[in-house]
């Protein structure tokens, strides 16, 4: 199954809300897109839940190929502030 991109799912969800707000659909169609919207919402939460931050850098291995490795300066930084730019 092709994975639905987060942004796409979010945009579709927005469209669905707009369509429902217009109120021009019959109940069956409404329910149909509603179910789709719930699916989109799930795709998004799933992605949000599963996404894990990785700070990596590309380094050459012995064969001279570039591979992603943990970037040391990215790992040890303290989580000192939660949100200081509001």
């Amino acid at each position: 199954m092709a994975e639905i991109k987060f942004e796409k799912a979010m945009n579709r969800l927005e469209e669905i809300v707009e369509e429902l707000e217009k109120g021009e659909l019959d109940i069956d169609k409404s329910l149909e897109i509603f179910e789709e919207g719930i699916k989109m919402s799930r795709v998004c939460s799933k992605k949000l839940n599963e996404a894990e931050q990785k700070i990596e850098q590309l380094t050459k291995n012995q064969k001279g190929e570039l591979v992603a490795e943990l970037f040391p300066a990215g790992a040890d930084e303290d989580e000192d502030d939660e949100d200081d730019d509001d």
Partner: protein, 458 residues
């Protein structure tokens, strides 16, 4: 004194003097000049610059009192960062020689750089103009940045402040956003090539959503790599949108012009590129809530319509109702009611289920909160539906009562009567069903009458 041999012209020496051929003297002059001016720095203004088909260029270097011819061979020209033009003040390095065929003495230019405007500045202006002409800076070329990037490719020094700052900002704003760094020299020999390679390399990583290339602030020389053509071309060729982040508030680099977005500093680039996780979660929450509420309303509307239809159907067709026994009506009503209940149950069930499924697998703190709110919402929805169903039942009970009012017996109360033929036992609805002398039974609200037909009138 009269016979004195006139001294012929006085200057001719006794010995036969050396007579130079033109070639000879020119060669000697050349040798002397070349020995004396093997390496010379000359400053002046270029005029009469022209380029031959061979690729060599010829010009005159002058100041307010004198001028000297200069030649710039193609080989030397290729490595130069700027293209000389008439009027340019230049400092050149070369050797003086003589072009024997014409007897011109001239400078063979080895290297040259503009004076006054600044060598780098001039090179910058020229590259900028050239790339602008090619359309590399056109708005139409600019790619849109992703709204929510999950992985950010960065080309910068792994040891500088720039990468630290960016990681800091990214972590703070969105602890779900990943970073893939291509470590590159950002100043000095080979820096431009490394940066360009980094852009190309990161383009091979399909999961990278956006690139930031940059470095912290520095002098114009420090930032020079970002003014090189090879970097500009790599940015232009990138399939992934590129944000330039060269730490220089005021001056723009060539990279800034080509990039899809220019940020004044690396941290600013990170701020621009990475949306706050909080905002994303809130958006999702808002949209989902909005959708469920809309749906709730839709279902409500539908129920309303259904109710209306049921009511209307009964009252619009009293004749059919009159014909049907009262219990049967009750059954119909019950069936409709059950159908409606069923329908609501099914819908509510799937709604609850989907919403539940949606938020079940959500361990995160944010999501947890969201999930609680959602459960609350679903409970509210359920309560509302239940009370609606109750209301509906009551309403339909009322409907049944009104239907009772229309049952045959109640009609009789209002003074109507039912006549049945004694012979057939059937209700008489037409004068043609009986003949003169037939006996009929007339059913009243209270009691009945047996009667004989005196006359039939059609």
């Amino acid at each position: 004194m009269a016979h004195t041999q006139p001294q012929a012209a006085g200057h001719i020496p006794e010995e036969q003097p050396h007579v130079y051929s033109v070639s000879e003297i020119t060669r000697d002059v050349r040798a002397i000049l070349e020995a004396a001016f093997d390496k010379a720095w000359i400053e002046g203004e270029i005029s009469n610059f022209r380029q031959a088909a061979s690729g060599h260029a010829y010009f005159v270097l002058k100041d307010d009192k004198a001028q000297i011819k200069c030649v710039l061979f193609r080989g030397q020209r290729v490595g130069m960062k700027f293209s000389p033009e008439d009027g340019d003040q230049v400092l050149l390095f070369g050797r003086v020689t003589v072009y024997e065929a014409r007897g011109d003495y001239q400078v063979i230019v080895e290297a040259m750089e503009p004076r006054g405007l600044g060598a780098l500045q001039k090179a910058f202006e020229q590259l900028k103009e050239k790339l602008a002409k090619e359309g590399l800076f056109d708005e139409s070329r600019k790619k849109e940045l992703p709204e929510i990037p999950w992985k950010i490719g960065i080309v910068t020094s792994p040891t500088g402040a720039a990468i630290r700052d960016m990681i800091h900002v990214i972590k703070r704003r969105n602890p779900k956003t990943s970073v893939l760094l291509y470590p590159a020299l950002v100043q000095g020999e080979g820096a431009a090539e490394e940066i360009a390679r980094g852009i190309k390399e990161l383009n091979k990583h399909k999961d990278v959503d956006v690139l930031i290339i940059g470095r912290g602030g520095g002098s114009i020389e420090d930032l020079w790599a970002f003014n090189e053509e090879v970097v500009a071309r790599a940015i232009a060729d990138s399939k992934i949108p590129v944000v330039s982040a060269v730490g220089h508030e005021i001056d723009f680099t060539i990279a800034d012009f080509v990039a899809d977005l220019r940020a004044p500093t690396p941290s600013a680039a990170a701020e621009l590129v990475v949306p706050k996780l909080n905002d994303i979660v809130q958006d999702l929450q808002y949209l989902t809530n909005q959708m469920i509420e809309r749906m709730e309303e839709d279902i409500e509307d539908y129920r309303e319509r259904l109710r209306y239809l049921i009511d209307r159907r009964f009252f619009r067709e009293p004749r059919r109702i009159l014909e049907a026994p009262a219990q049967h009506l009750d059954e119909v009503v019950q069936r409709l009611l059950r159908g409606l209940d069923q329908w609501v149950l099914v819908k509510r069930g799937s709604l609850t289920q989907t919403v539940h499924r949606l938020f079940q697998a959500s361990p995160g703190k944010q999501i947890q909160k969201m999930s609680e709110r959602r459960i609350d919402l679903v409970a509210r929805l359920q309560r509302r539906m239940e009370s609606q169903i109750k209301l509906k039942k009551e309403k339909l009970g009322g409907v049944a009562k009104s239907l009772g009012a229309l049952s045959p017996l109640n009609v009789l109360e209002r003074g109507y009567s039912i006549t049945t033929a004694q012979k057939t036992g059937k209700a008489v609805t037409s004068s043609k069903q009986v003949k003169k002398g037939d006996t009929v039974r007339i059913r009243l609200a209270q009691g009945q009458l047996d009667a004989t037909v005196d006359e039939t009138i059609d």
